[in-house]
Structures are given as C-alpha cells and as structure tokens.
Amino acid sequence: MSEQSLKQDIGTEYALELRGVTKQFGALNALTDITMSIRPGERRAVLGSNGAGKTTLFNCITGDFPPTSGSVMFFGEDVTAFPAHERIRRGLRRTYQISLLFDGLTVRDNVYLACRGVSRGRFSMRRANGDDALMHAAENLIDIVHLDDVREATVSDLSYGQQRQLEIALALAGAPRLVLLDEPAAGLSPSERKDLVSILGRLPTHMGYVIIEHDMDVALRVADRVTMMHNGKIFKDGAPEEIENDPEVQALYLGGGHD
C-alpha cells in the first residue's frame, strides 16, 4: 500500500496523467478540469458527441497547443511546457482526424520521414540508400498497416481508406510508448474497419493507445477501458460493458445528447 502510494507520488505508475487540464478558447471552455490517468500498455477509448472536447484533449496532450491550466505528465515527467516534438521524441505519438500527410511524397517517403523524425540524423545531409536501417523500419511499418501494394504510390493517389492507414503507420514509427488515435475509423467501409481492428489488435502489448471513436462497436472491441466525455468534461469512466449498459450513456447517445 505504502509502496503503491510512493509510486503514485513519483508518477511512474502511469504512462499518461492529466491533472486538472483546462482549455479555454476565449470565453469557451473546451475542456474543464480533466483529470485522468492511463497505465502503460492500457488501451483506452474516448467516446463523446461532437464538440465534447476529445480532439482538444489530444491537442493538449501532444502539445499542438498548451492547456490554459493543469499539467500533463508523460511516464512521470511533467511535459506541460514541452513543445510537441520533445513529447514525440519521448515516445508519444498521434494520428489526426483529418489526415495530415505529405501529399506530394510517396508512401515510403512519408513513413521514412516519420522514422527519421524519432531517430538521429534528422539533419543528415547524406541521401538514404536501400540498406539504411530506417528504410527497413519504414518498409516494415508499411507491411504492418497493409499498404505493401502501394509503397511507391504518391499519397494523393491513395484511396481515403489507405490514407487513414498511412496515418497510423506514421504514428507507429520508432518506439512509441503511447499512441493517440483520433477517429481512425471515421469514413472507413465495414471491411476497412475490420482491417483496422485487426491492425490494432496485433500491436505489441506494451504499446498503449488512446482511441477516439464514434462507433461504439469498434470502440468496445479495441479498448480495455472507456472514458465518456460530454461538454468538455469527463462524464463516465469504466469497463466497456459497464459503459455500454449505462442508462445515462445510452440516453446521451440515443437521445441526442442535449442538455
């Protein structure tokens, strides 16, 4: 017991810990006093209607913009003041709800850039050749997300579903410890969704992720724990079955979710 509280004090028990994170845009409270923690290797789904603050939460965690108040701890280290790239180098990754890819580059170059970003030699003035270790890592990632048929294709020529898969590949580069997935299933066909679920299921167990997902079926299948957000606050938190059967959650989801 005392050992556990000591662990909590130095914060190593959690991969990610948010303490009273608040984000205001002018007079709008996008996030109000969010406190949550995620253990290493945990798979967490974040549910909530549009405008519930899910993506804003991700932006505060990755440092795309800083929270108005509160703190963000990543593996026991306070990263609240860190720029985004410093957090990424510590093992945090994210995907974007609307794909942010390099449209003019090939699939391989996109993934290669991602691998290079979290390793040394970001400023290297030597061209990569075929036996570059990072090039191998990139090829590997392309296989993991099932894009091996289109590795030479330019991103703008990919289908929407393939672009979503590439988003995930970029977030898996290097040695991620926690990946934030912002609606990876949005706009995918049923078969593509199945593919996504299998990709997520095959990730190594030490790699935790937080997934924002509208589709309850996908969310409940890929997560150990579910957090329900509403109006910038945490509304419910629990095991998938608990949340699924919770009458208040059902009312929110089925009843339109208005106050």
Partner: protein, 361 residues
C-alpha cells in the same frame, strides 16, 4: 587498351567505376547538352558577353538560388539574401585588401574568404532565427527590415564600412598565375561555383534534411508530431542558404572590384526575388534562368530603348514589363512555362512521328 586496363583493375575500383558509370548514365541528355554548351561559351563569345552577361548571371543566379532554396523548399521568402551576400563582400574587403588601406586588414585571401563565409552565414542564421517565428508576409517584412537596416547602417558607418563610398579595389587573388578577374577566367570561376551551388541544392533536396524541410513547408504541424523541431529545421535551412549567398557575394564583389551600400540597397534586394520569380522559384535551375533574363534585359534594354528614341534610363520599365508578362502567364516563372508546354510539344512530335510512320506504310 581499355580492356587490358579493366582486367588489371582490382574488383573494388571496377565496382566503383561501374557505379560511377551507372550514375553518369542516369544524367539526362539535356543536362549534358547544357553543360557542354556552357563549357564552350568562351570559344564563341567576346569578353563582354563572358564577363558582363554570363559571369554576372551566374553570380546573381547563385545568390538568388539561396532564396529559391528557402522559398521553394522551405516556404520562407527571405529578402535578406542579397544582404548576406553583401556582408560576405564587405568581409572580404575589410579582412583582405582593398583600395581603402586604413580599414582593410590585409589578411591572405584564403583567410578573408573563410572569415567572410563564416560571418555571412552567421548573419543569415541570426536573421533566420528571428524570421522563422513568422509566416508568409511577415517573414518578407522582417527580412526586408533587416536588409534596409543593413543598407542604412553601412551608408552611415565610416569606421568599419567606409560609409557611402564603400571599398574599391577588392580583387580576387592571382592563383596559379591566372588573373581571375580576366573575363574568361572569371567566366569559369563563376560557372564552377554556380554549378556547385546548383548540384548541392539538387542533392540536399533529396537528403533527410531536405525532405524534412519540404515536410516543414507543407505541414509544419505534422512534422512536429513526428518529432521534428520545426524552427530548428528552418534555421538550418537559413544556414545552408547563407553559405550559397556568401559565395555569391564574394564573387559579386570580386567581379565589380568594389562593394558599397548600394550593392545591397532595397532595389537590388528585391531584384533577387524578381530574378527567382521570373525563372521559377520552385526549381533550382529557375534562379539561373531568371538571372540570365534579368541581366540580358538590363544590359541590352538600354540600347534598345535608345534605338527607339526613348530614354535609356527606363530599362527598369522593360524588366518590370517582362516580370509582369511572365508572372501573368505562369506563376511558376519560365520553368513553369516550360513544364506547361514541353509535354505538349513532345506529344505533337510523337503524333507527327506516328503519322509519318503511317504514310510510310
């Protein structure tokens, strides 16, 4: 004889040779064509064309190339590149020898050249460090502000920059017994550095650094989310561009034999942007094409206007008109026009060939 040579060669050198051969074979025919023409230009042109047209074009093209690198690959329109060139020019004059013996320190040429490149690059990095926090029009404004500040400072400061008159008699060294300011020698000197700058930019654009810079241009937010420090990458781009501009600035000073505040006045500073835009700001060859057009207009527009009984001072009108026409037809400059029409021409040629084939049958 060639056979006996390859037989006697070790495997390693053979492999290296074949690799080199393969690389050379990938160089497109039109690059060879342009290279050979440029090497032969002094055989059929006079001193004036070699020195005043081509030499000047190579030098301005090199300075403009540094802007192309920042703008085309980094998305940063910096108006400070001519100023960086002038800093290098002033350094060569101050550290080396010039007609102003009270100020010039008389270092050997190689020391003053190294110092000039270092200081100009540092100046470019310092400007970059200020400018990378801004985007778009604000980058243009802040770099233009620094450029004008430098111009007025050099014009008013007499202890270091010798004020309005600047430095005359800043000459290249007589190396290997060659006067590098003689037209043909300067032609090859400037051609060499222009080509070196061009190939360096082409090479760097495909290295991890160059790829990441283009990533920063297209999508800075995603680059940060991949672990790249966006600002550090932009500043490093300024450093690379600074070296290009510094080399160009030294050559410019040697070719003019002098450096003064007017070298980097607001007019010339903007001319560098005009040159890059005329030629095409998205490809490394663009600035050189732009520089050649600019220099030809500047050199011959005067005679042309006088022949029309107009005042020769209005040559800038022609430069401006040329700029408007090119930008109106192709925002990507002459290179953009080429990309637009070359495929059509090729298609036509193919069609002609195929119809000819048919008539033959």
């Amino acid at each position: 004889m060639a056979q006996s040579e390859t037989v006697s060669a070790t495997d390693a050198t053979k492999a290296r040779k074949s690799e080199l051969g393969r690389k050379l074979a990938t160089v497109p025919a039109n690059v060879w064509f342009v290279a050979i023409i440029l090497l032969l230009v002094p055989t059929f042109t006079g001193d004036f064309v070699q020195y005043q047209v081509f030499g000047w074009s190579f030098v301005l093209g090199l300075i403009s190339l540094s802007l192309m690198f920042l703008a085309g690959y980094g998305g940063m329109v910096s108006l400070v590149q001519m100023t960086v060139a002038a800093v290098a020019g002033y350094c060569v004059a101050i550290f080396g020898t010039s007609g102003v013996a009270e100020i010039s320190m008389g270092w050997p040429w190689y020391l003053s050249v190294i110092a000039a490149i270092l200081i100009a690059t540092l100046f470019c990095v310092a400007t970059g460090a200020l400018a990378v926090r801004t985007e778009g029009i604000y980058t243009i404004m802040i770099t233009l502000a620094i450029a004008s500040a430098f111009f007025y400072f050099t014009r008013q400061n007499y202890t270091i920059f010798n004020g309005f008159t600047g430095f005359n008699g800043v000459l290249p060294p007589h190396l290997f017994g060659i006067d590098w300011r003689s037209p043909t020698a300067f032609y090859y000197l400037s051609l060499f550095w222009a080509a070196a700058g061009y190939f360096a930019v082409v090479y760097v654009s495909r290295t991890p650094f160059g790829l990441a810079l283009q990533g920063v241009r297209d999508n800075p937010r995603r680059m940060a989310a991949l672990g790249y420090s966006v600002n550090a990458h932009r500043i490093a781009a300024y450093a690379f561009a600074g070296v290009l501009a510094a080399v160009g600035g030294i050559l410019l000073t040697w070719s003019n034999g002098q450096i003064s505040p007017g070298t980097a006045a607001v007019g010339p500073v903007i001319d560098i942007l005009v040159i890059a835009v005329i030629g095409g700001i998205n490809t490394p060859i663009g600035p050189f094409i732009g520089a050649l057009i600019y220099v030809v207009l500047r050199t011959y527009a005067l005679d042309f206007l006088v022949a029309l009984n107009l005042s020769g001072e209005r040559f800038k009108l022609l430069v401006g008109l040329g700029f408007l026409i090119i930008v109106y037809w192709s925002p990507d400059g002459v290179c953009g026009l080429w990309n637009k029409f070359a495929p059509k021409l090729r298609l036509k040629r193919k069609e002609n060939a195929s119809t000819e084939g048919k008539t033959d049958v």
